[in-house]
C-alpha cells in the first residue's frame, strides 16, 4: 500500500475493503469507521469518504487522479443549493494547475473575431455587466453505476450533480467585445488543464454560435457567493444552463470563434448519445446515429428517506426531495406508492429559477408492509421522467423514475 492522499481514515478504509485485514472493533478500528467508507448500491460498492482534497469537505472518492469526487447524497436534503465544498468534481486529464495567480491570469478570445482579446480578471469582473443565475450542473454520466448491463466509465451513483447560484458575465458580452465576424459557426472553449501525454487530445468543447450568444450562457467567477473552488474551475468556468456539464469548461482561459464545424476529438467523437428518444437503445444495438449530448432531461429524488428506512404503518409521514426540469423548469412533481398506477401531486417549494433544483414535499400514510415510493418530475415542456432506465454505451443521460424502498410497520 502506498496510499498517501486520503489520510489515515482513507487508508484504513482501503485496507479494510481490500481484504488485507478486516477491522472488527478493537483498538485498530477508527471510532467512526462507518463514516470513512460508503457502500453504493452496485458492484463494487465500497468507496472511501475522503477529506484529502483542497477546499473540499467529505466527498465520495471515485478516483484520486484526475479527481472524480461525488457529492454524498445526504447533502441534497439540506437545501436546493449545493455547498461549494461538497460540489462534485470531475476532471478528464491529470495535469491540473495547482497555483492560479489572479493578477497574471488571462482569458483570450481569438479566431473569427474583429479584435482578439486578452482579458484580465479585473477586465471581466469590473468591466462587464454582472449577471446571476441558479443552475444545475450535472455530469453526463451521473448515475452510470446503475446502468444494466453495466458500461465502463466513472461508476457514479446519483451524486455527480449540484446546484449553485452562479455569478459572472454573459458569454455574449465577451464575444461582442471581440466582435464576432459574419460567418461564425461555433465557439470553442478550453481551460488550463492538459493531458499527461503531449499528443493526447486536449479537453475542449464548443457550442453553436447562436447558443453561445443567447445571453444565458455565462462565464462564472463565483458560485454561491464565493470564488470557485480550484477543483470546480477557479478562476473562471463556463455555465451552460440546462446542458450537461461536459460543456461547462473549467479553468477556462481560451475562447476560439470558429468559421466552420468543430472536428476536435471531445466535441466530435466523445460524449455521443444515440439520436433516439431518451438516448435509449437496446444493449449491443448497432447502426444507430450518434450525436453530441446536449440538453438535460427532468429528474427527481427523495432526499428525506433513504432506502431501507422504516415508517410507522398508517401514520402520516412527510417526505421531501429535489427535482429539476433539465433544459427548462419544473412543471410538476408526483409520487406513487403503487408502482406508478396512481400518482399524487407533491407541493413544490420556492422557485429559484427554471434551471435550479426545486424542493418538493408530500405526505404518505402507507399500510403495513413493503413500500415502494416513486417520484416523477414533469418539466415545463411536458417531458416526464420515463419509468424504465435507458441504456446506451456511454451510460449517459439517465433519468428514469427513482424508487425508494421502505418498510411500514
Amino acid at each position: 500500500m502506498k496510499e498517501k492522499m486520503a489520510g489515515p481514515p482513507g487508508r484504513r478504509s482501503f485496507l479494510g475493503q481490500a481484504g488485507g485485514f478486516i477491522l472488527v472493533g478493537g483498538a485498530l478500528a477508527p471510532p467512526a469507521l462507518a463514516q470513512t467508507t460508503v457502500d453504493l448500491p452496485f458492484a463494487p460498492p465500497a468507496r472511501a469518504i475522503t477529506k484529502a482534497f483542497p477546499q473540499k469537505g467529505p466527498m465520495i472518492l471515485q478516483r484520486t487522479r484526475p479527481p472524480l469526487l461525488e457529492t454524498p447524497f445526504e447533502v441534497f436534503d439540506r437545501g436546493v443549493f449545493t455547498p461549494n465544498d461538497q460540489f462534485y468534481v470531475r476532471w478528464h486529464w491529470a495535469v491540473i494547475p495547482t497555483e492560479i495567480d489572479v493578477a497574471s491570469f488571462r482569458l483570450t478570445v481569438k479566431g473569427h473575431v474583429e479584435t482578439p482579446l486578452s482579458l484580465t480578471l479585473r477586465d471581466i469582473v469590473d468591466g462587464l455587466p454582472r449577471v446571476e443565475l441558479a443552475a444545475v450542473n450535472q455530469c453526463s454520466g451521473n448515475s452510470r453505476g446503475f446502468t444494466e448491463p453495466r458500461v465502463p466509465g466513472a461508476q457514479w451513483a446519483n451524486g455527480a450533480m449540484g446546484n449553485a447560484r452562479w455569478m459572472g458575465v454573459r458569454l455574449k458580452d465577451v464575444l461582442d467585445k471581440a466582435g464576432v465576424k459574419a460567418g461564425a459557426q461555433r465557439v470553442r472553449f478550453a481551460g488550463l488543464d492538459e493531458p499527461v501525454v503531449a499528443d493526447a487530445p486536449k479537453f475542449m468543447k464548443s457550442l453553436a454560435i447562436d447558443h453561445a450568444r443567447d445571453g444565458e450562457v455565462m462565464i462564472a467567477y463565483a458560485m454561491n457567493g464565493e470564488q470557485l473552488p480550484l477543483l470546480n474551475g477557479f478562476p473562471l468556468r463556463l455555465v451552460v444552463p440546462g446542458w450537461y456539464s461536459t460543456y461547462w469548461v473549467k479553468m477556462i482561459d481560451r475562447i476560439e470563434v470558429l468559421d466552420g464545424p468543430d472536428t476536435s476529438f471531445w466535441s466530435a467523437s466523445a460524449y455521443l448519445i444515440p439520436d433516439t428518444p431518451g438516448a435509449d437503445i437496446k444493449p449491443g444495438q448497432t447502426g444507430v446515429k450518434m450525436v453530441p449530448i446536449n440538453r438535460m432531461v427532468p429528474r427527481s429524488f427523495v432526499t428525506s428517506l433513504r432506502d431501507g428506512a422504516a415508517l410507522k404503518a398508517g401514520a402520516k409521514t412527510a417526505v421531501r426531495g429535489i427535482a429539476f426540469g433539465g433544459a427548462t423548469g419544473v412543471k410538476s412533481v408526483e409520487i406513487s406508492l403503487d408502482s406508478g398506477t396512481a400518482w399524487q401531486a407533491a407541493t413544490l417549494g420556492q422557485d429559484e429559477g427554471k434551471y435550479s433544483f426545486r424542493r418538493w414535499q408530500a405526505e404518505i400514510a402507507p399500510a403495513a408492509g413493503p413500500v415502494r415510493l416513486m417520484v416523477r418530475c414533469t418539466n415545463s415542456d411536458g417531458l416526464a421522467q420515463p419509468m424504465a432506465m435507458n441504456w446506451n454505451p456511454g451510460g449517459f443521460m439517465h433519468n428514469a423514475v427513482e424508487t425508494t424502498r421502505l418498510t411500514a410497520a
Partner: protein, 131 residues
C-alpha cells in the same frame, strides 16, 4: 460629507442584501425570493475580489492489488490515472477490457509498451473480469 456617508451606507446595505440573497451554502432555505432567470445585478458591489489560490492535490493512490501480476498495469497505466479508475469498475468480459486498453492507447495516446498489452488485459480480466 453627508452625501458621501449616504452613498457609502447605501453601498454597504446593497452588499448586505446581495450577500443575503446569495447566502452561504446550506442556509438557502431562508433566502428571499430570487430574481428572474438571468438577473443583471447593476446595484451589486462595484467589485468582487478574487484571491490567488495555491493548493496541493493528492498524488498518491492505492496500488493495484494482487494476486494477479500487477507489473504491466502499474508500469503503463498509473501516469495518466490512479488505480481507483480500474478498481471501481464492475466485472466486464475480457473483450470489453481489451477494448478499454485499446481506447487508452489509440484514442488517448497512452504510451503502452506493445509487449505489455496482453499482460494488462490479463490483469484486468483476473481482477475485474466476468467470471
Amino acid at each position: 460629507m453627508i452625501n458621501g456617508t449616504q452613498v457609502g451606507f447605501g453601498a454597504a446595505l446593497l452588499a448586505a442584501v446581495i450577500l443575503a440573497a446569495i447566502g452561504p451554502p446550506g442556509t438557502q432555505a431562508t433566502a428571499p425570493p430570487p430574481g428572474p432567470v438571468v438577473a443583471v445585478s447593476p446595484n451589486a458591489p462595484r467589485t468582487f475580489t478574487l484571491t490567488s489560490v495555491s493548493v496541493e492535490l493528492p498524488t498518491g493512490d492505492v496500488a493495484f492489488p494482487g494476486p494477479a501480476n500487477t507489473q504491466a498495469i502499474a508500469a503503463n497505466c498509473l501516469s495518466c490515472h490512479s488505480a481507483g479508475m480500474v478498481l471501481t469498475q464492475p466485472d466486464f468480459p475480457r473483450a470489453v477490457w481489451a477494448g478499454e486498453v485499446d481506447k487508452m492507447i489509440h484514442t488517448f495516446k497512452a504510451p503502452v509498451a506493445p509487449a505489455d498489452v496482453a499482460a494488462i488485459v490479463d490483469y484486468l480480466q483476473a481482477t475485474r473480469g466476468t467470471k
